[in-house]
Symmetry: C3
Subunit: 451 residues, 3 copies
Amino acid sequence: MRAWMTAAYPICRSISGDGVRGTLDLLADVLPDGATLERTGVPSGTQVFDWTIADEWNVREAWVRGPDGQRVVDLADHTLHLVGYSAPVHARVPLEELRRHLHSLPDRPDWIPYRTSYYHRDWGFCLRHRDLQGLPPGDYEVLVDATLEPGELVYGEVVLPGSTDGEVLVSSHVCHPSLANDNLSGLAVATELLRLLAARPERRHTYRFLFAPGTIGSLTWLSRNTDRLDRIRHGLVITGLAGGGPLVYKQTLRGTRTVDDAAAHVVRARGGEVRPYAPWGYDERQFNAVGFDLPVGRLTRTPHGEYPEYHTSADDLAFVGDDELVDALDALVEIVDVLEGDATYANLSPFGEPQLGRHGLYPTTGGHSADQEVMAMLWTLGLSDGITSLLEVAARSGLPFADVRAAADRLCAAGLLGPRPQAERSATNRASDPIEPKTSPVKSSSSTVTP
Amino acid sequence: MRAWMTAAYPICRSISGDGVRGTLDLLADVLPDGATLERTGVPSGTQVFDWTIADEWNVREAWVRGPDGQRVVDLADHTLHLVGYSAPVHARVPLEELRRHLHSLPDRPDWIPYRTSYYHRDWGFCLRHRDLQGLPPGDYEVLVDATLEPGELVYGEVVLPGSTDGEVLVSSHVCHPSLANDNLSGLAVATELLRLLAARPERRHTYRFLFAPGTIGSLTWLSRNTDRLDRIRHGLVITGLAGGGPLVYKQTLRGTRTVDDAAAHVVRARGGEVRPYAPWGYDERQFNAVGFDLPVGRLTRTPHGEYPEYHTSADDLAFVGDDELVDALDALVEIVDVLEGDATYANLSPFGEPQLGRHGLYPTTGGHSADQEVMAMLWTLGLSDGITSLLEVAARSGLPFADVRAAADRLCAAGLLGPRPQAERSATNRASDPIEPKTSPVKSSSSTVTP
Amino acid sequence: MRAWMTAAYPICRSISGDGVRGTLDLLADVLPDGATLERTGVPSGTQVFDWTIADEWNVREAWVRGPDGQRVVDLADHTLHLVGYSAPVHARVPLEELRRHLHSLPDRPDWIPYRTSYYHRDWGFCLRHRDLQGLPPGDYEVLVDATLEPGELVYGEVVLPGSTDGEVLVSSHVCHPSLANDNLSGLAVATELLRLLAARPERRHTYRFLFAPGTIGSLTWLSRNTDRLDRIRHGLVITGLAGGGPLVYKQTLRGTRTVDDAAAHVVRARGGEVRPYAPWGYDERQFNAVGFDLPVGRLTRTPHGEYPEYHTSADDLAFVGDDELVDALDALVEIVDVLEGDATYANLSPFGEPQLGRHGLYPTTGGHSADQEVMAMLWTLGLSDGITSLLEVAARSGLPFADVRAAADRLCAAGLLGPRPQAERSATNRASDPIEPKTSPVKSSSSTVTP
């Protein structure tokens, strides 16, 4: 992940142009055998819902030369120096006029800010406030050797087919220039997750990785897939997975999706935090717009805007810890394991506790307290009414999902757990009523049965 | 408000009689042009649900003269000196017998208590405990020159018509004698609210102000309006708006009415408190009786019985702070603004976030964090599914309702928000499902949709 | 209760055999006139759901003699010395082999542990660790003069008929040897409760007391009553009612049964604790298995496994406090009183507060704050809409159930409360809507109406 980020860091990315293409090339380079990056290019001028795809932006050179002829700002030094989507210009301007095009951070005089102007044609440079203050009066030569012309918006997708058509969408934006946490961290971890999933002999869900420019990119993808959106069963926007702080899961619009429960279960057990949905942030706000209402949450560490390095040159490769990337990857694998492993079973020996010992599942000397493995089996048997899912069993019992899943496997193998046998169960009086787990009140409220 | 209270303070009010008539006169005097106080008189003996309207009580003079011929208690000094509804008497009684008719507060020897005996024919006087203890032995002359005869119970109403028949009921009791917080404060603030509402060019709801004697007055009004009670959409009993402490909103019987949400939103933001319903207090207990079950909450400051000055002569004009009245009035105006402004819209550009900049609604340079105005627009767009109301948007977002209402106005003007377009929305897969806001679980539980 | 426990303590009980029979004899001895202990014997080998009834176990003598011929462990000294269901043996074994059959508690060297081996044929002895360490090397003579032969599993039932067929099940296990808290305390308190209930002139519910061996005993009872389980309206497993700590109520699987609300109301008011269901513990885990899903909670003091004396010789008669037994009995009587007294009424004077004074129910001088008796009447009138139960009134008001029940009795006698009069109520606009009390959200969610 470190190597990939180091290679991708210097590229001058924006929402269109060769920077995105180059980054997709780097992603394609590290894909495992059998996985293909499929690219889609959509022409400038195409209407995408309320938006229009802008002209493609490419830049060759951009600098400001001082009264003494020395370059005071140069895109070649740092991709953040140029305001994204700056229009071409070559002019000589006095300092006073130049300053209206310069952006700096007075509070952080050593950091270069990140600015863009996608939908307002303008040009500008970003620089350290310390450097800005040192600019002598006089005339400055400004060059932005860029093209802003009809072209295309490009995004990439990698699909790992599963045994069902139901998809898990993993989306990570690909439009930010030399900013390491936001979002090379997301791209690097997504790619590694993709490699781990590709190596699995079996996948229940189909996994779709989307690498698209922020906002307009995800909207464009949505606009070209409106008839297939109902395939998305779960989704995660992943970005900003390093830079300090615990993992933070942001819920979907409804906050009651399976991905919300799965991510909350994993993230909280790892000391992370769960936050309610808010209609700003990254591309989750597009997926969760009321017209789409997709079950897509978001995983970050400290969210955007809450750390000072956000959208500045201080978000560099040193800002991203290797252990943070590994921890985020581990959490994602655990979330995927929940999504893959969650299922609903019926206790096939529902009339009282089965004699676990007889099935080779229990210590034979009584009087001891049940150990965690036995507890996981008892919880799974005790709540599996054909309606309550394993994830709900994990939530109510406080046990890790993996333990509950393992217990379910042992019980299935022993013939004590399986699909709900309709005929048998209807023989008893209340067996058809669902259980209402106290720990998931939202879910249970819909399954309330009044006697 | 201060001037009105000062004028109304000396009047000897009770649940019937000229004191109520005189107070209604004072209220009529300060009504704005076009607003009329309509009075209703209902004869003594009329059956009102479980109650019967008592004879009308009027008193000319009432005093106790000591053994030395000096008056030791005199209604002319303070209206609280006479027990309300005291029967006429003129007698000479020894001190021992007199004491059985005297009420004082041993713990507050300088305060006169407030006592009534509406439904048990008796007479009595209230006095400072200090004075009671100084009474010498001997014979006392007692005079209560009162009439307790068939007459009528009187209440007043002012109606400000709105563009709909749906009514907001504002009720304030008019039966307490010289007690300033309970309830001249309620009457003064209600009148001022009435003036502010009358001055509005437009009102969505019809506003009905009810000035009636406590309990029997509101019951009489209810008995004469049973066929029109379904017009009451929201209601507030207002009383005790001064005397210290934060604002306290008492919920309706159900606790889930719009007025509960509106008042909670406003009162909590002002540092006030929300309490659940309890079946005692002021007239809210009549409006919320199970047979009526009207959506009427109550606004006070420290509630009755929780401050020592309650129902004593210490609840005088000095006990009522001008700033408290103004603050209560402000809160009421805010609650009214919510009731007037709350509505449910549909995002007309629901497929992803609209390009606010293109509609003139967004700063054009990206990279900054959204300011509060933009946040209000994003929340309103993000939750407006044609089911979720603006008040729910405010509750979930934590934004003031006024900001959300202003955002909705801007978005409506820009064509991004409007009534739900049935045909269009049915084209997408889940667009017809309601959003379940986490922050209003009671509401959301009814809109749970399992995919 | 103390005398009964003292008599029952020395008996060597297990899940079958003469110990159970002898204990049932002792229970039968203390039954009140008219109450009969009905015994059921089910043959060994009978299939009971996933289980098979084991051979019956009886033991005459069991000891270990040391190299010097002295008995080092002897069942005659303490029933815990022999592992329950030990197979017959008479052998001479060296110390090393003997040790594999000995159980002790290194951390509690003076206590004898309790062990059983019901379903794994073996023999063993339990002894003080101090004694274990003092055993000299050499050959030991081991005798277990026991029979493990086809016989029967025995349980006893006492039924106190009520005015309805609906049953309250009170279950207490009868299989533990000389352990006083677990479970002579449960048996003693159950018997005393039975005597108190038998003495009542009237019982609304039928009470069924079940005295059965743990797990296999309750399963056997369930297997023979599958067609009658729907009669069980409420139930409690009672055990471990002494030994320190506050009362602890463990909820049913659903946690929303009437017995859950009743027990929570009583136990919390007495400073006790309410815990959610977990699928292990005593026989509640059989009654709450998904196939039965019966409304049976559990009452204990500090639960099994949470006190060091659990399943050791330290759980002796001195470990059980008389005051603890009396307190537990009082709590059970209160819970029974709730189950007997809970009912749903309609306010027959629902249009405003009735004039309590006119009905002889209210102090006649106004201006005082309502006392607790009046509060209970006002709450009962204020919430009795024909749907909300008295227990819900108690929960929402915070008043003891007994006060609410007494208020309902007074109001019924005064004709203010009674069965819901259908015709009258339909005359008002919203009277048919249920009330949703904020304080019992689980219940109220079931009365949610989806538009």
